[in-house]
């Protein structure tokens, strides 16, 4: 195995860093990583679009993640997502026009006992019902 191939192991790590820094993977970062690791841009594009962690579009200030693991599913997680979609007027995967919210789902956060679970920028909300959705959103809608 040649050394240059071994450099590729840094790729996902670098993409994580980039995503964290900018909130997405900008085109210029792809070129930069390509030069640094000597991997073609198309290869990098292929890798980053394969994984859910990376996006090519900037995300909102607040990232709302609704868990749709099996336990959350049987306890009504889908209804929570739908309510979020209605309230924010965006679909899963989209960002609101004011760049404030991005709505996403996840397949399991591993805290199944307290589902349905919603996470906003790392803060966990447990046992969510449709009624509680408004209160969660208000917490962030009013903040700047």
């Amino acid at each position: 195995m040649s050394e240059s191939n071994k450099d590729q192991r840094e790729l996902i790590h670098m993409l994580h860093d980039t995503q964290e820094k900018f909130g997405y993977i900008p085109a210029h970062s792809i070129s930069q990583i390509s030069r640094e690791l000597k991997i073609s841009e198309s290869e990098i594009f292929g890798v980053l679009t394969f994984y859910k962690a990376f996006t090519l579009e900037p995300r909102g200030t607040y990232q709302i993640t609704v868990c749709l693991g099996t336990a959350c599913h049987v306890r009504g997680g889908v209804q929570i997502v739908e309510e979020m979609e209605r309230k924010l007027n965006i679909k899963v995967g989209q960002t609101s026009s004011n760049r404030k919210f991005t709505l996403e789902t996840v397949n399991c956060l591993g805290c199944c006992a307290i589902g349905p679970v919603v996470v906003v920028n790392g803060k966990y909300y447990s046992n969510i019902t449709i009624k509680k959705v408004d209160a969660i959103l208000k917490e962030y809608q009013e903040s700047e």
């Binding site: 191939n5 307290i114 447990s126």
Partner: protein
């Protein structure tokens, strides 16, 4: 901190740690894994610190912040030692009372202790609670005692002694023989004998060998690996170092799922500490053995839990699986022999060395040895992580430990093994939990997720859920999986929407066999299991959806209608105010009516209607048809009224 250079120093260190520990009168242990933190454990810890400081008790009363205690349902919870008093669902406002009454006066606070939902019995001792009493906590026991961010806690409990023993008293062959004799099998799903796996990897001659800890725990509803990494990361790391010594590897990787931020953090801290103390790096514990571990963070792809995909991901490529053979033991990471085990398997290793294979293999059945951690979730009273000996029955787990079904509803099925497993019905509750029995029933042990479903769960919907999941997570490399899961998901969606046709079930069965036989990796090969088992055990439900266009469990939206019972409605306006689409009309003290055309079936009205009123019902089948007919008549009437 100085490196530990020989086994004697390790023992000295342990004694030093023990002797410098303050002699607390009481220790308050706070469960603070992800579930705990999500439920407010951090606030409880703050309040505790504040309260103890206020009363100048910090020197006499200790606070130990640990990982998850397993009883997720009752988070945040604390245990007060030496008495072992268990307090559940604490809030900051309870803390003052806890300190005043229990810490200072040794009085138990009745409102905070556990109450058995069936018998009404109040239990103050953690060990006496049925949820804990019937478990056999071997791997998870130290989660009560270890602050995962402090290696000294692990050392105090004889941590890394198994490693010292292995490095100085055993040859690699002897370690492998010991693991083989223990009967340990992989806890990640397939159940391959661990010792045999190590031996195969060791036998391929190569200058470099790698070992990997698979912590890409992607099965929805399974989180025991998260709990182990969060709560006791050194046990996993020690297991890996022992494995590396046995296999002859000098570099290892822990691949952690990115959805587990706390586990990532604790593993990072644990690795740094292990390096500082000389458990990783060059000349470990003064021996000639060297080994290092890197942590890799996943990037959100379920398929990377499959071993060949995982290796591709570590190499920085798309997580595509590949054909086996060659197996990873032969050609793995960067073409070198590689051994992959999952988190729970690694955590078993130090235990086997410490206890001895003979003692370890006393637990379990003839073919499945040791304990297994299950995550008991879904419609069950005592949700949480339970560790039980292999061979226990499903019934014992669900009823004795789990406390039965929420609200005394009827048990319908238990789903084991995540998207690769199947749904087992009530007739199977007496099954013994071991690798062979579960496979024979059409499901698998898998990583240990156990999702309990009651009469209000629609089995066709569950199959649809899993197939949507695998369809989305299929990497797309091979056709049977890519196209097959999609076709199955679409057919199932159609059935749940009331557009199923005669022959759909047979088509699903045929397709399932093709996908099973033709797929490249485990994801595709096992993806049809949820469909096949639900058809096998719940064929009537499929029939109801297809022929009668009804959903007996009242779940599938297109087949149900919400209805306000006129004789029960008290006209309180609650449902009307909470309807997100303003589909309910009515006035105070007058019967409310749902506009069936506007209704999106979100269930908000049913949620908010006070239980003693209970005026909102769901209907399916003929009754639903009648409700819809009546509604459309009413609508026509009011429209013609409007014209006049």
């Amino acid at each position: 901190m100085q490196k530990i250079n020989n086994p004697e120093q390790l023992i000295e260190w342990k004694q030093k740690v023990l002797s410098k520990r303050p002699l607390y009168k009481k220790i308050i242990v706070v469960s603070s894994g992800t579930c705990g933190q999500a439920s407010g454990s951090l606030q409880v810890i703050e309040a505790l610190k504040h309260e103890l400081e206020k009363r100048n008790l910090e020197k006499t009363i200790g606070i130990e912040i640990t990982g998850c205690h397993g009883f997720c349902e009752l988070e945040p919870n604390i245990i007060i030692y030496p008495e072992g008093i268990f307090y559940k669902k604490l809030e900051s406002k309870d803390i003052q009372k806890v300190v005043e009454e229990t810490i200072l006066k040794d009085k138990i606070i009745p409102s905070l202790i556990y109450e058995d939902s069936k018998t009404g019995q109040k239990i103050s001792q953690q060990k006496e609670i049925p949820f804990y009493k019937k478990q056999m906590r071997v791997l998870t026991e130290n989660n009560f005692r270890v602050d995962p961010t402090n290696i000294e806690d692990y050392l105090a409990l004889d941590g890394y002694q198994a490693l010292a023993n292995v490095l100085f008293n055993m040859t690699s062959e002897e370690v492998i023989a010991e693991i083989k004799a223990s009967g340990l099998r992989g806890r990640g799903g397939a159940g391959f004998p661990t010792g045999k796996k190590w031996e195969i990897c060791r036998e391929f001659s190569s200058d470099t060998r790698y070992i990997i800890c698979n912590a890409d725990e992607g099965d929805p509803g399974a989180y025991m690996d998260r709990s182990l990494l969060e709560g006791n990361p050194h046990s996993v790391i020690e297991g890996m170092i022992i494995g590396a010594y046995a296999i002859g590897s000098s570099e290892g990787f822990i691949y952690v799922r990115m959805e587990y931020p706390l586990a990532v953090k604790h593993v990072r801290i644990a690795l740094e500490q292990a390096k500082k103390f000389g458990f990783l790096g060059k000349s470990i514990l003064g021996s000639e053995f060297q080994f290092d571990i890197h942590m890799i963070q996943g990037a959100g792809a379920f398929v990377s839990g499959e071993e060949t995909s995982l290796m591709a991901s570590i190499e920085g490529r798309r997580a595509f699986p590949r054909q086996r053979p060659p197996f990873p033991a032969q050609e793995g990471l960067w073409g070198k022999p590689t051994n992959i085990n999952n988190v729970e398997t690694w955590a078993n290793v130090p235990l086997i060395i410490n206890k001895g294979a003979d003692k370890y293999s006393e637990i379990g059945t003839r073919t499945s040895k040791g304990t297994k951690i299950f995550s008991l979730v879904g419609k069950i009273n005592n949700t949480g992580l339970v560790e039980v000996p292999m061979g226990i029955t499903l019934k014992e787990i669900i009823y004795d430990i789990g406390g039965g079904i929420i609200n005394n509803k009827k048990f319908k099925a238990v789903q084991t093994g995540g998207p690769s497993g199947g749904c087992l019905p009530a007739e199977m509750l007496d099954l013994s939990i071991d690798y062979e029995t579960l496979t024979k029933a059409g499901s698998i042990m898998g990583s240990g997720g156990m999702i309990v479903m009651d009469e209000n769960t629609c089995m066709v919907d569950v199959a649809r859920y899993f197939l949507n999941f695998t369809q989305e997570e299929s990497c797309g490399k091979c056709v049977p999986c890519r196209v097959g899961t999609r076709q199955m998901a679409e057919t199932l969606t159609r059935i749940t929407q009331g557009a199923g046709e005669e022959g759909d079930v047979e088509k699903l069965e045929e397709l399932a066999q093709t996908v099973k036989a033709g797929s490249l990796c485990g994801l595709g090969q096992t993806a049809p299991n949820p469909v096949l088992t639900t058809i096998r055990y719940f064929r009537d439900e499929y029939k109801a959806h297809i022929v009668e266009k009804s959903c007996p469990a009242l779940v599938c939206k297109n087949l149900i209608a919400y209805y306000v019972e006129p004789e029960k409605c008290v006209g309180c306006l609650l449902c009307l105010k909470n309807c997100p689409v303003d589909a309910i009309s009515g006035e105070r003290k007058k019967v409310h009516v749902i506009d069936q055309e506007l209704c999106i079936k979100c269930g908000a009205c049913l949620d908010v209607c006070p239980p003693k009123v209970g005026a909102v019902s769901k209907y399916t089948g003929k009754k639903r048809d009648r409700i819809l007919k009546k509604a459309s008549k009413l609508r026509a009437l009011s429209e013609s009224d409007g014209i006049k």
